[in-house]
Symmetry: C2
Subunit: 212 residues, 2 copies
């Protein structure tokens, strides 16, 4: 199968929509479909059909009029564009309630993310395993993450410890930090930070409901 390599040139909004396309195409394949149209993807996700058509066109796979795109080729191309053709090893920093939940979240398997080591300050957790992942002391971040050549850190520590832990991850050579704290992390230009702040997101909702 000749899969074009479009890893270098994708706009951010397109990348954000790819995981949803990928899931839907796989669902359709499981139902026996071997072709899928961008219009069907747009409808299922409630997005503009023009956007979906452009997103899919970027994969460079020829479609057939009134039929759609070959599902298998599309899955392979999107998977490759997302870097999900190889499993990404990740280090989880912070094994509190949220860290625990993420360590046990099976959705990451589909996205080829594998949490291979965890760190926590709690001495009771150290040496234990959380959902099959061994917990190490914080002081070992730099040594272990570097040795294991881990490129992705997942930060689920309290805000007060976030920058310090991010500094350790950066010193260990990670290229990306998935930041679940509320802190606006300072990192060198080569490191990508992606923020997910659940408290912030919930605040917007509950403020709006409280106003009623």
């Amino acid at each position: 199968m000749n899969v074009p390599d479009r890893r270098g040139s994708l706009p951010l909004p397109t990348i954000r929509r790819y995981p949803a396309y990928l899931r839907l195409i796989k669902e359709r394949m499981a139902c026996g479909d071997d072709e899928i149209s961008s219009a069907a993807l747009a409808e299922a996700l409630g997005i503009d059909p023009v956007l979906a058509r452009k997103d899919i066109a970027m994969m460079g796979i020829p479609g057939r009029p009134r039929r759609g795109f070959p599902a298998r080729e599309l899955v392979a191309a999107i998977t490759r564009a997302l870097g999900w053709d190889n499993t990404t090893d990740a280090a989880l920093v912070g094994c509190g309630s949220l860290g625990h939940a993420l360590a046990g979240y099976r959705g990451f398997i589909e996205q080829h993310l594998s949490i291979v080591v965890a760190f926590d300050t709690n001495p009771e957790l150290q040496g234990q395993s959380v959902h099959g992942v061994r917990v190490q002391t914080m002081s070992e971040i730099r040594r272990i993450v570097r040795r294991m050549r881990i490129k992705l850190g997942i930060l689920t520590v309290p805000d007060s410890a976030a920058q310090e832990c991010a500094d350790e991850l950066v010193a260990a050579g990670v290229e990306g930090i998935w930041n679940f704290s509320s802190v606006n992390l300072a990192v060198p230009p080569g490191v990508i930070v992606q923020n997910v702040d659940l408290a912030q997101s919930l605040a917007v909702l509950s403020h709006a409901i409280a106003r009623r």
Copy 2:
């Protein structure tokens, strides 16, 4: 304690920063501080001090030059602005891996969010309890959510079921939906949707790392 009521007029970026301020102020109070400056908050969160000063000023609580704001009054005012002075009951729709994780996430206690009922299609889960929350069948959403007067729905179902479940929640009278699916939900104007798409967020990171 005379706490101004500023629930009606807050800009969205300010609301998003409030949970982080709240946590930090409580941390300082636990260390014995009874006053806190907006500059200290800005520094701890890595944000512009001018922003923090404006955010705090919106609470309408007088501060003292070179000392700061009274911590207790600030906590009360922010808590009230966020609607966190009363516990918000929520319905969890979808008890897969992510739903399980959220049901067990203790961080919600701090935000006065209480998941009081859960729904799932899996007959094996029905009647069971997930982290102390009873799981009901999907067909009961409308009846139970309405009867319990729940105003917030947390949506953790597969994309293919998201719109349908959202419709049920809306019909049951919820005012806000916390949407963890990738679907762009269609809801009536009075209902607020707040999206958290973990796959989307991770896609941006892994695409960037894969390009290296």
